[in-house]
């Protein structure tokens, strides 16, 4: 009985007799589909959430993400993931991602789609205008400070190291000192 339950009878001439009397045939089958990620391209990455720094593999095919799972070679997580890390796939396949620059005008009730070129030009002009208007070469004591207190920045612990470095370099070149991010809160 035990054997027949997990036996692996295949439909064959031998089962015809059983078919006539209607007893004996137990279902069992081998699964033989090819794996969804077979021959997919693998790219390693590090989880964007907490600072454990788990490794993931992103499987892509035809330039699109088809699967994400833990990197078994990563010495920290060894292929394992928590719920957030395991959900990386939906960061790509996600209807909520904003994919065009948006602009909200003074007093407006809504966002408006705008071009990158326009946005960047506008922002550059705003930076310059505010910087020029608020720049202090000297403080009240007459000491050189070369800064602006009129622009501030927060972020980000979600940037890559290279971007963090670039970002602080850029902000400081504009004279910002109100530079803060997640590490303070």
């Amino acid at each position: 009985m035990e054997l027949s339950r997990r036996g692996f009878l295949q439909l064959s001439g031998g089962t015809i007799g059983a078919t006539i009397v209607g007893v004996g045939l137990k279902p069992a089958a081998a699964y033989a589909e090819p794996l969804a990620i077979q021959y997919a391209k693998e790219t390693t990455t590090i989880c964007p959430y907490c600072a454990v720094g788990c490794g993931l593999i992103v499987h892509t095919r035809g330039g699109e993400v088809i699967n994400t799972e833990g990197d078994p070679d990563h010495p920290i997580n060894r292929g394992t993931l928590c719920s957030k890390g395991a959900a990386l796939y939906q960061l790509r396949h996600n209807d909520n991602r904003i994919t065009e620059p948006l602009y909200r005008a003074k007093g407006s009730k809504e966002w408006k789609k705008v071009s990158w070129d326009w946005s960047l030009d506008q922002i550059a002009q705003k930076i310059k205008a505010t910087r020029d208007a608020t720049f202090m070469e000297k403080n009240a004591k007459g000491q050189t400070v070369n800064r602006t207190d009129g622009i501030a920045s927060v972020g980000s612990a979600a940037l890559d190291n290279e971007e963090c470095y670039l970002f602080q370099k850029l902000l400081r070149s504009w004279g910002l000192v109100y530079i803060e991010h997640q590490a303070r809160i």
């Binding site: 339950r5 209607g22 279902p27 069992a28 089958a29 081998a30 794996l35 394992t80 959900a87």
Partner: protein, 254 residues
């Protein structure tokens, strides 16, 4: 092939629910819109899009308080009620590794399996076809671990040779739930408490009626049917029919 199985070590589960999401990711299952009902446990039940979930179990007070976590899923029964009641051969089946797989193309939407399961596991999707944890039979057939097992950070979920997992769990002093019940579960629990602590049935079994129906009535019935046909044929060729002419012959003979 030696039977493979899950061993779920409840003492190691931190309820991070990586398993819940890894499963959805691999099987490409959508999320459901949920609301908080006064618990972390969401969705509150398995759904057609949720093949495994963590149950959060709070018991006791003060120093005796415990918060336990149980991974709920298809327990891949050796004697599987769902397979037993399924009318469509191959819609639900045991894979070579002993997992309870299914083939939606063969599902006839009869819903019998939903009812036949002692653990209330199978669900029907929007196409009215059976869904449930199939142990990532596609991954397992290709030599990979099921998605949930691979994701589990603390090895609370393990998958492998069933006998070895049982031996290892016993060696670490755990009570194994499902070693023999239902001809051995293919997803067992290594419990650090009693089955009641985890709201598990002490002796899970297929309802007696399914046993009577599939193991008694069905074979006896088929025998009975053919028996009746046989008896009729036998009667015809031995005793023979009641020919109307018999009476005339009788009369004539008198």
């Amino acid at each position: 092939m030696a039977r493979k199985a899950f061993m779920i070590d409840t003492s190691r589960c931190t309820a991070c629910r990586g398993c819940q999401v890894a499963c959805k990711q691999w099987n490409k299952l959508p999320a459901d819109a949920e609301v908080n009902r006064g618990s972390y446990e969401n969705p509150p039940q398995l759904t057609p899009h949720l093949y495994n979930k963590i149950e959060f179990i709070e018991k006791g007070e003060g120093k005796d308080f415990t918060w336990r976590f149980l991974n709920q899923r298809c327990l891949q029964c050796g004697d599987a009620g769902c397979i037993k009641v399924c009318p469509s051969a191959g819609a639900l089946f045991h894979t070579e590794e002993g997992l309870v797989g299914y083939d939606q193309d063969k599902c006839i939407s009869c819903n019998y399996c939903v009812n036949g399961c002692p653990f209330d596991v199978p669900r029907y999707d929007a196409n009215n076809k059976v869904t449930k944890c199939h142990g990532c039979m596609d991954r397992v057939a290709n030599g990979l671990q099921p998605a949930c097992v691979k994701a589990c950070p603390t090895a609370s979920l393990q998958f492998g040779d069933r006998d070895k997992l049982i031996a290892a769990a016993k060696a670490s002093g755990k009570q194994v739930y499902g070693e023999t019940a239902l001809s051995g579960l293919g997803a067992m629990y290594a419990l650090d408490g009693s089955p009641q602590d985890y709201n598990l049935a002490e002796n899970p079994s297929i309802p007696q009626s399914i046993f009577l129906w599939k193991d008694v009535i069905k074979p006896l019935g088929i025998l009975g049917f053919w028996g009746a046909v046989g008896a009729a044929m036998l009667h015809y060729v031995t005793v023979g029919p009641k020919q109307l002419e018999d009476d005339f012959e009788d009369k004539g003979g008198e």
